[in-house]
């Protein structure tokens, strides 16, 4: 963690214009350069903290804590989608199709959200349900193809991503999704009844989708660790052949795993369309979360609460990244780079141990017993 911060710091320093300016005359006044480096790196990380956790520059606790709520807002879809990808991993399936599942779920939930008139609560629940169902169907399609024809889910989910993207792009050009009177490929705003209510009032973006994400985490935990279906899932994930011999219907497990996985990713889609961006969306509503979810799932070691924590961490990066860019002028590309470095180092406990010459816990323990390093 520390190491990645240093590595990121070097990058920030190298890329900062002030440092570049000062380095231009490094040999005539070296202190300037060092000063500038200190300022840019320190500033960037303090911006990351202030954008993600607590902003000291704002007066009062209510305003200061706002960044933390932003972190939770960004974490919401990441947790939901991460759970979906993690669940598929536990069954031995690689769901790389989060983008398509999110797009379709958002489109379906969004359609319910802006075109129907239903009473409060009912409208929201119905829209969320429709989103989950559509995400599940799109994921289940990949599962079905795998079960029926053996088509590898990596291929089908990648292809289904593109198909969903073009499908939603097309619908955004037709009256189905396009806002009436508009020429732009965007939907109208969601009806208030259909949106996730704000948790802390209008000053904060955090919405009730976060509660859904918590519930989803609990359900997935129960499903995987306590239920019969979850046992079958894990059995197939460990060894499909043994599972088959033990009388588990492997094919139907594949289908159901992808349906549930897609449904969870669909929940992330509804969090985007009905919570984060209530004002109508375009074909970029997935915001790359489908791919981030893979990293979140793996960082969380595919365990529900691990995914939850990893989602929070990623949410903090996202929220902090904006203020790094706005306050310190760190280009958004570098924010990405620093984030990916941090992920790499977090994911590599053996590397960290090597560098700091820490003893190996339980000498040569198999990977499963290693603690999640944070």
């Amino acid at each position: 963690m520390l190491l990645s911060i240093i590595a990121g710091g070097i990058l920030i320093a190298v890329t900062d214009e002030r440092v570049q300016a000062a380095a231009g005359y490094f040999f005539s006044r070296p202190l300037d350069t060092l000063n500038a480096i200190g300022q840019s790196v320190g500033g960037a990380y303090s911006a990351l903290f202030q954008g993600a956790i607590y902003n000291f520059r704002r007066p009062g606790f209510a305003a200061g804590i706002r960044p933390l709520t932003e972190t939770l807002t960004f974490a919401t879809p990441l947790i939901a989608a991460g759970l979906g990808v993690a669940l598929a991993f536990r069954v031995g399936l690689f769901n790389i199709g989060g983008r398509g599942q999110m797009l379709l779920a958002a489109a379906a939930a969004g359609w319910v959200g802006f075109s129907l008139d239903l009473p409060p609560v009912v409208h929201l629940l119905f829209a969320v349900l429709v989103g989950i169902v559509f995400g599940g169907l799109w994921g289940g399609l990949a599962g079905l193809l795998k079960a029926r024809t053996g088509a590898h889910e990596v291929i089908t989910t990648i292809m289904l991503n593109y198909i969903a993207y073009y499908l939603v792009s097309f619908l955004l050009r037709t009256p189905v999704l396009q806002a009436p009177g508009s020429n732009n490929p965007k939907t109208p705003a969601m009806k208030p009844n259909a949106t996730y209510p704000d948790l802390f009032g209008p000053g904060y973006n955090l919405h009730a989708g976060f509660l859904f994400a918590i519930v989803a985490t609990i359900i997935v935990w129960y499903l995987l660790n306590r239920s019969n279906l979850g046992f079958q899932f894990r059995a197939v994930g460990e060894n499909p052949n043994a599972a088959r011999v033990a009388g588990i219907n492997v094919k139907s497990v594949y289908v159901w795993a992808m349906v549930i996985s897609g449904g969870l990713v669909g929940l992330a889609g509804t969090a985007q369309a009905l919570g984060t961006i209530k004002t109508g969306f375009g074909s970029g509503i997935d915001a790359g979360i489908g791919f981030d979810a893979i990293t979140v799932a793996l960082l969380g070691r595919s365990r529900p609460w691990g995914v939850f924590a990893a989602g929070l961490l990623f949410g903090a990066f996202k929220a902090g990244g904006f203020s790094m860019q706005a306050a310190e002028g760190v280009p958004v590309d570098i924010v990405l780079v620093v984030q990916s470095l941090i992920v790499l180092f977090i994911a590599a406990p053996p590397l960290v141990r090597t560098i700091f010459r820490l003893p190996t816990p339980g000498s040569r323990a198999p990977r499963r017993r290693e603690a999640v390093a944070k």
């Binding site: 053996g150 990648i158 790499l344």
Partner: protein, 426 residues
């Protein structure tokens, strides 16, 4: 529960014992129905022209002119006949020969083209040239992917390697004003990405898919950053590489129809022909290939017979990176002529799909990449000719074709057994 992130499902070979498979006749039957409904039911009048020669051909084939309606009916009947034959084969519990499926596929495509191009002309050589042009980065990427997975390291970072290769080749070739130096730079960049992948995945046992996904983000971020901050302001010095000229191979280039596509290409494409053959040969016919596959299938066994698993993996993943990086150079030095932000546009993921589609076999993966390139170019040609389908659905075509091909014809695949699993010597 250890490595959950494994795109591997070693299903048993039990199903092979089922001799009578109706999958192929069924898939073909569905296509006959589609053909009948679309090409005959919604038949179009006029004539369809297939231009078979390019302007620069030595001897020009005349245009092939087919009356649209009649042509479609004849070809659809032929398709039905082939399907009938496969039904017979399936009843007799015999395998459907691959060439028959290939004939069927070509016939279907021609049928489709005839229908779609009523009243217009399809430039067949141009269609093929474009197919290859779109496939080259996919093929290089897929070769890199095949080697990586065969040795037991899932390479999700193909996209990153292509992009790094494209970036490095543009910069190096611009600075040195030498396109060959650019190629070298592309390979080194690909290897560097591979080093990170290999080091984290093999030495530090980080989940290979995490490293791959993260590397894609990392390379995208770095190249985009340097592109906007360093390359764009100095594009004359840093982003104006010399391009490879097309080399025309005498005689071969004059073969009608396929000649222009295959033998009027840049050196990168000729290297690709060699690379595909070489990777296939080495993988299956040499000691190096045997060791590599042993490490990917059963690292423990390989270890017991004295193969250093970690080292084998490390160097072969690096080699895979060099190949993928080389493919990235095609984008800049072979095609577009300069580097652009995120110019790979998802090609690495398509290459990943081609690896699996091609069952981890270099030749089959190449064919898969070519199929994708063909579908991609076909949709573009058709949309220019004027297709009755909305543009978004045309853009879906290559992806739908891939799914149909994978589901209908390829089906069950088996990855190298240890692909994606870190090996800890015990």
């Amino acid at each position: 529960m250890t490595v959950a992130a494994v795109p591997v499902n070693s299903e048993p070979a039990l199903e092979r014992t089922v001799m009578r498979s109706w999958k192929v006749p069924l898939a073909l039957g569905i296509f006959v129905v589609i053909a009948a409904v679309l090409f005959i039911g919604f038949g179009r009048d006029g004539v369809s022209t297939f231009r078979l020669a390019t302007d620069s051909d030595a001897f020009k084939l005349p245009d092939l002119v087919i009356p649209t309606r009649v042509g479609c009916v004849v070809m659809t009947v032929l398709l039905a006949a082939i399907t009938g034959y496969t039904v017979m084969l399936a009843r007799a519990a015999r395998r459907v020969p691959l060439w028959l499926i290939a004939v069927y596929g070509v016939l279907f495509v021609v049928d489709f083209l005839t229908w779609a191009s009523a009243g217009a002309a399809v430039p067949v050589p141009g269609l093929l040239v474009g197919t290859l042009g779109l496939s080259v980065p996919l093929i290089f990427g897929a070769l890199g992917g095949v080697i990586g997975e065969r040795v037991g390291v899932v390479n999700v970072a193909i996209e990153g390697q292509l992009l790094a290769g494209a970036f490095a080749s543009a910069v190096v070739a611009s600075v040195t004003q030498n396109a060959y130096a650019g190629l070298l730079g592309a390979m080194i960049a690909g290897v560097l990405v591979s080093f990170v992948l290999a080091a984290f995945a093999i030495k530090y046992l980080v989940d290979q898919v995490i490293v791959g996904v993260v590397l894609n983000v990392l390379v995208t971020g770095l190249t985009s950053f340097f592109f906007s901050k360093v390359l764009t302001p100095n594009s004359a010095v840093l982003n104006s590489p010399p391009k490879f000229e097309r080399i025309r191979i005498p005689i071969l280039a004059d073969i009608p129809i396929v000649g222009p596509a295959l033998f009027r290409q840049t050196i990168i494409v000729y290297v690709m022909y060699v690379a595909v053959a070489l990777v296939w040969f080495c993988l299956f016919k040499t000691r190096w290939g045997l060791r590599l596959r042993a490490v990917g299938e059963h690292p423990t066994a390989a270890d017991t017979v004295g193969i250093n698993v970690a080292r084998t993996r490390f160097w072969n993943v690096s080699l895979a990176g060099a190949i993928a990086g080389f493919g990235g150079a095609y984008l800049t030095l072979g095609a577009v002529g300069s580097f652009n932000k995120e110019m790979t546009a998802g090609a690495g993921f398509i290459a990943l799909a081609a690896v699996i589609f091609g069952r981890w076999d270099p030749l089959r993966a190449t064919l898969a990449a070519l199929l994708f390139g063909f579908a991609q170019n076909l949709q573009n040609v058709l949309s220019i000719i004027g297709s009755p389908v909305p543009s978004e659905f045309m853009l879906m075509l290559p992806y739908i074709v891939t799914i149909v091909a994978v589901a209908g014809l390829v089906g069950q695949v088996r990855a190298p057994a240890a692909s994606g699993k870190p090996y800890v010597k015990s």
